[in-house]
């Protein structure tokens, strides 16, 4: 039986690595991939607690997280394609259209 604490440590490590990708990388694609990493660490937490507390609702919420992530990726990549068609850059600090 693996202690739940180990799962929490693993999820925290993955979350911090994903946050590092979001905060430090300039490429929009890698920022999106780091977001995927953070969502996966959250799912690990949900499943670990569901496993310990013998509750299936953790798995249900994990299913919803995965479904919403699929929707998010589709919309984000659509926005990215439209963005690249109009402004030929992938760097986050050059995409300042919303600043006005």
């Amino acid at each position: 039986m693996i202690p739940t604490f180990w799962y929490l440590i693993l999820a925290a490590t993955l979350f911090v690595i994903g946050a590092a990708g979001v905060l430090l990388r300039r490429n929009v694609l890698i920022v999106l991939m780091s977001l995927e990493l953070m969502l996966n660490s959250v799912t690990i937490n949900l499943l670990a607690f569901g496993h310990v507390l013998q509750d299936l609702r953790g798995q249900i919420i994990a299913i919803f997280v995965i479904a919403i992530t699929a929707a998010e990726v589709a919309v984000a990549l659509g926005i990215l394609v439209a963005l690249l068609r109009n402004k030929h850059t992938l760097e986050v600090d050059e995409l300042t259209i919303l600043k006005g």
Partner: protein
């Protein structure tokens, strides 16, 4: 035996997650993320959720990452994709990250008391089956399930509308050359 499996899987997952952030080429990042997601799927099996492991591999590795690779290869990312880190925000970003990581791990270290208050986890006697999961999903969580399907439909339509070539730009290209790329 289970602990050795966990240590192996989590070690490989952490290393490939680091590769996602550190790799120069976005394609290498995407492949490292595929490796990381497969390790996480194996961890789901260890957590007694084989159904979630299958969903993880189908949805993430099969659909999401293929979409990512498709977009990376469709967009012509020669020079701008190789850019590494934010020019001015690297140092403040690192400080924020260190603070967040320290807070997260301190909270986790202190959580043993909370865990003791909740009561230790009882060992699993029988694996919760897919049958129980689907009963719960389609009885208690039917409304969120339907809402999720509507959200997926809206995302599908939104992605199609967003990625469609702009009519004004297309007309400008055939007629007179349009000025700039801004609308």
């Amino acid at each position: 035996m289970e602990r050795e499996f966990f240590l192996l899987l989590s070690g490989v997952a952490t290393i490939s997650a680091l590769l996602v952030v550190l790799a120069r080429n976005p394609v290498h990042s995407a492949l490292a993320l595929v490796a990381c997601l497969v390790q996480i799927a194996a961890l789901y099996v260890l957590l007694g959720a084989p159904f979630l492991a299958v969903i993880q591999i189908f949805v993430y590795v099969g659909a999401v990452m293929v979409l990512f690779l498709f977009v990376i290869m469709m967009l012509d990312v020669r020079k701008e994709a190789q850019a590494r880190y934010l020019r001015n925000a690297a140092f403040p970003g690192l400080i924020v990250l260190a603070l967040l990581a320290a807070e997260l791990f301190t909270l986790l270290m202190q959580s043993t008391r909370l865990h003791a208050a909740l009561g230790a986890g009882q060992p699993i006697t029988e694996q919760p089956s897919v049958e129980a999961l689907s009963l719960l999903l389609f009885q208690d969580f039917l409304l969120p399930f339907e809402v999720a399907s509507v959200i997926l439909l809206v995302a599908l339509i939104g992605a199609v509308v967003l990625a469609r070539p702009d009519e004004a730009t297309a007309a400008g290209k055939t007629g007179k050359p349009h000025s700039g790329g801004r609308r």
